[in-house]
């Protein structure tokens, strides 16, 4: 095997803020740029789950969209099983793209209200199966996600939010993918339904040996499903570590602050240690370390120089001046494996 299952190196996505034609022609200054994802380098072994966590504006959703091909990267590489994924979904080699699927956040907008369930869940196979085999495959998929054959001819509006997410998972499984990107799949669901869907995802992953990239703002949910966790802030990965390491010994000040901000239902009345200020705009990130204006440990150096990624003794990759570690080797593992 040529390196890890999924590898990202220096993945970057910038959005230019659109300007009216006249301004574009007349203005001398360069257009404003939103640095949604900035130099993200991560790796995921097969059959595991990478949790990507962060608050709004951190770039996690954009990262997910770049992975599945809904956005084209501005720079950097994505490799699946050592092969490069270049461009958007339509530009990539079809055989490779078929191995990737996505589950979206909004269960009410991710299923076509005018399609019947049997057509929705077999859409990835459209044109490849006869009507009869499509129906059979649909029944099979529904059973896999805990729904029944009687649901085949129904419409999405006849299902609850949790059931719709199950349908979304069924659709994602239709083409037998290897990588499924889940973008906040349970954020819009009630607690008890969320538990059902999370259990379904975990169980399906184990049974089929899927690799998952799980995006969420909820650290508790991330802790439940992930094997490794990447914490993002303003487009960059600030910490990336195996799950146990991240939650037991968080290294980056932002990670630590986030963990303290989560209320523990078992201990009511505890006031959260709030992180001061608000997340800055991605249009004008602070100089140096993007977190320094809100960081309790900030030093003068943090304002001047952006911290590089380093590996701690505990096995976490952290981008912080105050955390000691060995600098990260920026060469792609897959390249290294190939050249020996």
């Amino acid at each position: 095997m040529t390196g890890p299952f999924l590898e990202l190196r220096g993945l970057t996505k910038h959005f230019e803020v659109p300007r009216p034609l006249l301004a574009r022609v007349v203005s001398r200054s360069p257009p404003a740029v939103v640095r949604a994802v900035e130099e993200v380098s991560l790796a995921l072994p097969a059959g595991e789950t990478l949790g990507v966590v962060g608050e709004s504006g951190c770039g996690k959703t954009t990262l997910g969209r770049v992975l599945v091909g809904l956005e084209v990267p501005s720079a950097g590489e994505i490799r699946l099983r050592g092969q490069r994924l270049e461009g958007g979904a339509h530009a990539r080699p079809r055989a490779l793209q078929r191995r990737i699927q996505m589950v979206f956040q909004d269960p009410y907008a991710s299923l076509d209200p005018r399609w019947r369930v049997r057509d929705i869940v077999t859409e990835p196979a459209v044109g490849e199966l006869s009507a009869a085999s499509r129906r059979e495959r649909a029944a099979q998929l529904l059973r896999q996600v805990g729904l029944s054959e009687t649901d085949l001819d129904k419409y999405p509006h006849q299902f609850s939010g949790g059931q719709r997410q199950r349908l979304a998972v069924a659709r994602a499984l239709c083409a037998e993918p290897e990588l499924v990107v889940c973008d906040e799949p349970t954020s819009a669901l009630d607690v008890s339904v969320q538990a059902q869907v999370l259990n379904l995802l975990k169980e399906t992953q184990e049974r089929l040996g899927l690799s998952l990239v799980f995006i969420s703002h909820d650290l508790a949910v991330i802790s439940h499903v992930s094997t490794a966790v990447a914490v993002m802030y303003l487009g960059r990965v600030v910490e990336w570590a195996p799950r146990a390491v991240l939650f037991a010994a968080p290294a980056h000040p932002y990670t630590r602050a986030l963990l303290e901000t989560i209320p523990d239902v078992r201990r009511p009345g505890r006031r959260r240690a709030a992180i001061p200020g608000e997340v800055p705009s991605a249009l004008s990130p602070p100089p140096g370390c993007a977190f320094h204006p809100r960081c309790p440990l900030a030093e003068p150096r943090c304002r001047l120089e952006r911290p590089s990624m380093r590996v701690t003794a505990g096995g976490a990759q952290v981008a912080c001046h105050l955390v000691p570690g060995t600098p990260v080797d920026t060469e792609l593992e897959s390249d290294r494996a190939r050249t020996g």
Partner: protein, 300 residues
């Protein structure tokens, strides 16, 4: 079938009456040849002796010609029926063509964006600056001068249809474009993109069905407008050639005899036209609500 049942479920009484009227008109027009007492296109059936007869309830009238006759002895009832057929045919065809053009432009424009979007929308804006009648007259005038008379006679109707469609496609395009912009962000469209389905396939199977709601509303209003536009053009003499008269033509020829007291030649075609357009608009308004599958389930 499901569509029809669904359409009717969500409607009120006024809508159903209007719908019934429209259906009656359509049937009348479809079976014109059998329903009309006199085959008015056949000049041999005309007898000048029957010219300018008032309606049957008038002492000078003739029971065979219920609503009277025109100056050439043509039965008004039959004239109206055949005229209806022509008016509705042209109206439906023009709206259908406008819808086709508008949908194609709007869907592609909204989905692909970029320079194509800009180009099509500027064309739409340009189109809107010309009043519909003017566009139709322009097109018809050009056709008249460019084509030899015989060709113009046979192409007369398609030219009118094309002219009206050209004047009406923009609202369809705009509605389709707006709807497409919304649909493009929906999860099911993006899921299809991740599946690397070809863009036209995604547009036809996901975007089109979901933008049809407002399109149908525009179509029903457009139908009434198209029928009126055709009537206006015929009234002005630049529409359908008078060999096969539409309701507009009948109003035109009939109005010349109004000062002499032959009111029936203009009133009945006019009433038929007004009734048709009214019924179409009311029915269309009501039908729109029946198209949404979500509105038929229980309240969640």
């Amino acid at each position: 079938m499901r569509l029809l049942r669904g359409l009717l479920e969500g409607t009120g009484r006024g809508t159903r009456i209007a719908l019934a009227v429209v259906v009656a008109y359509v049937l009348l027009a479809a079976f014109a040849r059998w329903v009309a007492p006199q085959p008015v296109q056949d000049l041999r059936s005309l007898d000048l002796m029957n010219a300018s007869l008032p309606p049957a309830w008038n002492p000078d009238g003739n029971r065979a010609f219920l609503l009277g006759t025109d100056e050439q002895g043509r039965d008004i009832v039959s004239g109206v029926i055949f005229g209806l057929r022509l008016s509705m045919g042209v109206g439906f065809a023009a709206v259908a063509l406008a819808m086709l053009i508008g949908l194609a432009a709007g869907l592609v424009s909204g989905y692909r964006g970029g320079w194509l979007d800009a180009l099509l929308m500027r064309a739409a804006d340009a189109q809107l600056t010309f009043p519909a009648i003017l566009v139709a007259m322009l097109l018809d005038g050009v056709a008249r001068s460019v084509l030899p008379r015989s060709v113009h006679e046979t192409l007369g109707i398609p030219v009118v249809i094309g002219a009206i469609a050209l004047a009406q496609w923009v609202p369809f395009a705009r509605a389709a474009r707006v709807g497409t912009l919304v649909e493009r962000e929906k999860g099911y469209v993006q899921a299809a993109q991740v599946m690397a389905r070809p863009w036209w396939s995604i547009v036809l199977s996901h975007v089109l069905p979901n933008v049809m709601g407002p399109i149908v509303v525009i179509a029903t209003i457009g139908l009434g407008n198209a029928i009126l536009t055709e009537a206006t053009l015929s009234f002005l003499g630049v529409g359908i050639p008078p060999t096969s008269p539409s309701l507009g033509t009948l109003v035109r020829t009939g109005s010349a005899y109004l000062p002499s007291g032959a009111w029936w030649m203009v009133v009945f075609p006019g009433l038929a036209l007004a009734g048709l357009v009214l019924a179409v608009n009311v029915a269309g308004d009501g039908l729109r609500d029946g198209l949404d599958p979500k509105q038929r389930s229980t309240v969640s």
